[in-house]
Amino acid sequence: MGRLPKEPGLYVHVPFCRGKCAYCGFYSVSDWRAMSAWGEALLREADLYRDRFHRFDTLYVGGGTPSVLPLEDLRKILSGLRERFSFAEDAEVTLEVNPEDVTRDSAFFWREEGISRVSVGVQALDDACLKTLGRRHTSRRALEALETLRRAGFANLSVDLMWGLPDQSLSGWLETLGAILAYSPEHCSCYELTLEEGTPLTAMVKAGRLQLPDEETACEFFERTSDFLKSRGYIHYEISNFARSEALVSRHNMKYWRHGPYLGLGPAAHSFDGRRRWANVSSVREYGQNLSDGRAPLDFLEELTPGQLRLETLLLGFRMHEGVPVAAVGQEETPNAALSRAVAEGLLELRDGTVVPTRKGWLVADSLPLLFSP
């Protein structure tokens, strides 16, 4: 196996939650009895990749709700991973947490265990919104969590928020943002609510019991969010992500968007080595079974063609403010016509050999790659 093109990132999927949030389409279970077996299987899976992935410079423990892991279990996993792989000195180690799990003790413990960055799932500060979303914390609890984490010494906090919620007003949303900024998080992810198939929230919207903002309003939310955070000194570096400085962007997530390699461990986790993508089965039981049988718990593996890689470069690159090199849009027939057109339409800009999306372009980012495919 040859060397990976760039330093890879490691992702660990913790598939356990206290309960399912009404909007969430990720794989998770609320039966925690399988937790210790899952932890063992995870390290067994790590063994399978020891030869191919030696060193990582980011680790992201996501889920699910990683903060529900008993502290001992988390310690075992982190030390197990450190035994098997090496991590860069200044590696970014992120833990996703829910406010209800943040206590003085847990916060100190996480610090001790080498977590350098905590991403807090606040989502909203309006208790009615939190209830609609099926969250298990109140707005007060969320703000307390931020304070507790700061006191424990975390200097890199990220807050997850959602807009475009049923009955959410633009002014209410901007107030939420303002309240969060009082804690000066280093990083903010502001996601538009996405309706995932098969979730209770989607069913409610389809049944007409909840209403989402229309296209115009959603655009306004997006633009005002960007304006607001930029005015407070944040960099809008990805469609839904803001950082106080270039150094504080999510280095792990940047690997996804820059088409870098990453290894995902755990049920339903995805991996990419620069050429191939694979995903694990979405079942804790099957995952464990496969690994105790000594097999990789694969759901699928695909080898990408150059064309597919190129398409991915565009679909990912147009999500970032840094854009893609102009060469990435240059191979197809009459590419310059398409580019000039998109520039004339105000969707893209050409800057020093790089094609970058404008804010108008970001709003249609999913369709931008199609401009450059014959």
């Binding site: 609510l193 996804y256 991915e312 999913d366 495919s373």
Partner: protein, 598 residues
């Protein structure tokens, strides 16, 4: 010859022509009940579905009369649409009589009348047959009265039957034998056989259906086609028994087929006279004329990769349809394709549907056009049926378009609606006659261009299905023509250009702009659709851009899903036609041709 009868069945649509034909075939013992499929003679799927006969079939029925005499009854099937009226006339010319089928509850209808006139033109004996007498709504006495009054036929001896139930079938046979005269002719005279149909057999080439008037024809004879002097050696002659049944000879009075190494049906001309090369007849049979296409449209493959496949399909299709003509054509919007000429709009639809169904082609057809005539300043006259070849407007001195004499038969109460329709369609010089109580025949001189698009559908709508329509070409008349172009974001979509009367340009342009607005999906940018004559914009519509198409999250697991969605969209886009940077779906080209129901 005394024991031969040549006849056709003529009827208004749905009066049971095919059912009766099938029943006669079954009663004659050509098929047993187990093999019996409904409507055997209508062999094309399309015919079954639409209940119309497109390609005619012929069958020789053996019949033994009650007195023990054995007859050969040649049932010559006729196509049932105005586009094929010439083929109908040749089939009727091969008969001595017809069964005029009338529905026992519907009574005499417009087409009944038109068919009767056609039969009378050929001096045929007409035997009225009242069908569907088993229906509860049957009113035989009223229908007999109608036959007497409206058709001026003797209804006392009308045959009563129900083809569906098999009632009165023997009466039909007897009427054919007793009332339709046997053919006359001289088997010793030089051969004169009338070609009334030709079908393609992939092993044998063209199978020519003909009626022998004089002389005889055998395997090995050298035959000559009088229209073009082509000579062929006869490989096989025989009669149609659902399947072909070879015979040593076909004689005067008989109907059958000839296989003579003729490669395609395009080498055979309907209405031609076949004679012997070494002993030709002095007189060709009357009524021959070359069939000329009157409606033109271009066919393009949806995906330009399929051009070769379309070419292949057209070549194969053409083997069995001599009336279709085509040549290469190309469009900036749609790529390589074919310009095709058709006998009429139904013919066009048949070709389109058969290419799609039987030859598995995905095609786009352009707006049908007629053949226009331009006199240029130089004195030269050019005919143009493809808007791409519209002459430089500055060089045009006079323009002319083909006119038809349109005759419409309908119940009197629809007269106003039909008048309105015809006037809207630039009909001139209206004439009326009342062929029977409650019915009118309305005759208009009309531009052919006005009927090729959706006239027949509209007529059916305004007459609630009762109107029937027939037309004949009456030559060119001066007209005020312009070329209408459709532009999408300033780029001309050549496949949507049209030569049109100046007064019709704007309504058409407005309709096309509206249709395209509905069919072209929103893009990231604004799309302007315009209709233009010369440099002047006469209609426009705008498609506003979509503002938002973005997924909030795209992390490790979302990438594959996102890429697959894009790949699917890319495929969809490939099937679209690019005009500048606008993707136009195939459905848009189809939609501009759809009938406006309002």
């Amino acid at each position: 010859m005394k024991h031969i009868r040549n006849f056709s069945i003529i009827a208004h649509i749905d009066h049971g022509k095919s059912t009766l034909a099938d029943r006669l075939i079954q009663a004659a013992g050509l098929v047993d009940a187990r093999e019996f499929r409904d409507q055997i003679l209508d062999t094309l799927d399309l015919e079954r579905e639409r209940g119309i006969t497109i390609k005619s079939n012929t069958v020789t029925l053996p019949y033994t009369a009650p007195d023990g005499r054995r007859y050969a009854l040649n049932l010559i099937d006729t196509p049932g649409h105005v586009d094929f009226s010439y083929e109908v006339s040749r089939a009727l010319a091969s008969c001595e009589g017809v069964l005029l089928l009338v529905d026992a509850s519907q009574g005499v209808e417009a087409q009944t009348l038109a068919n009767l006139y056609a039969a009378m033109e050929h001096d045929l004996v007409v035997v009225p047959v009242i069908n569907k007498i088993d229906l509860p709504s049957a009113d035989v006495d009223r229908v007999k009265e109608e036959i007497e009054n409206e058709l001026a036929l003797d209804a006392d001896h009308a045959v009563l039957c129900s083809a569906k139930e098999g009632i009165g079938i023997d009466d039909v046979f007897q009427a054919v034998v007793e009332r339709i005269p046997p053919p006359r002719g001289d088997s010793e005279a030089p051969l004169a056989a009338l070609v009334f149909d030709a079908q393609y057999d992939s092993f044998r080439g063209a199978v020519v259906a003909c009626r022998v008037f004089d002389g005889r024809i055998r395997t090995g004879d050298r035959i000559r086609m009088l229209s073009n002097g082509a000579v062929y050696k006869v490989e096989e002659v025989g009669v149609f028994r659902l399947k072909r049944e070879p015979r040593p000879v076909l004689e005067a009075g008989e109907v059958g087929y000839i296989i003579a190494g003729i490669k395609t049906v395009s080498d055979v001309r309907i209405g031609d006279t076949i004679t012997l090369d070494d002993r030709p007849t002095a007189r060709p049979l009357p009524g021959f004329r070359a069939v000329k296409p009157v409606v033109f449209s271009s066919i393009y493959p949806v995906s330009s990769d399929d051009y070769a496949s379309l070419q292949d399909a057209l070549e194969k299709y053409k083997l069995n349809d001599a009336a279709l003509v085509y040549q290469k054509d190309s469009s900036a919007a749609l790529g390589q394709g074919f310009r095709c000429g058709f006998l009429g709009l139904l013919h066009l639809e048949i070709v389109q549907e058969r290419l799609e169904r039987e030859y598995d082609q995905s095609i786009i057809m352009t707006i049908p056009s007629v053949q226009y005539r331009f006199t240029l300043e130089s004195g030269e006259t050019v005919t143009v049926e493809n808007p791409q070849y519209y002459p430089d407007p500055a060089s045009i001195k006079a323009t002319e378009e083909p006119y038809i004499r349109a005759s419409i038969l309908c119940p009197e109460r629809f007269m106003g609606a039909v008048m309105k329709l015809c006037t809207e369609r630039r009909g001139e010089n209206p004439r009326f006659s009342v062929p029977g109580p409650g019915r009118v025949e309305i005759v208009f001189d009309m531009p052919l261009a006005e009927v090729i698009y959706d006239f027949y559908d509209r007529l059916k709508t305004v007459t609630q299905g009762y109107g029937s329509f027939d037309y004949e070409m009456i030559g060119y008349r001066p007209s005020d023509l312009v070329k209408l172009d459709i532009l999408v974001n300033g780029e001309k979509v050549d496949a949507l250009s049209l030569i049109v009367h100046r007064d019709r340009a704007r309504p058409w342009a407005v309709q096309v702009c509206d249709r395209l607005k509905e069919e072209i999906p929103r893009h990231q940018f604004k799309i302007a659709i315009q209709g233009a004559v010369g440099g002047k914009i006469i209609a426009r519509s705008t498609i506003s851009p979509f503002r938002k198409d973005v997924t909030a999250k795209c992390y490790g697991g979302d990438i594959t899903r996102k890429r697959k969605l894009l790949e699917k969209q890319k495929k969809g886009k490939k099937r679209m036609k690019m005009v500048g940077s606008v993707s136009i779906p195939q459905s848009a080209f189809v939609a501009v041709l759809k009938t406006d129901k309002e």
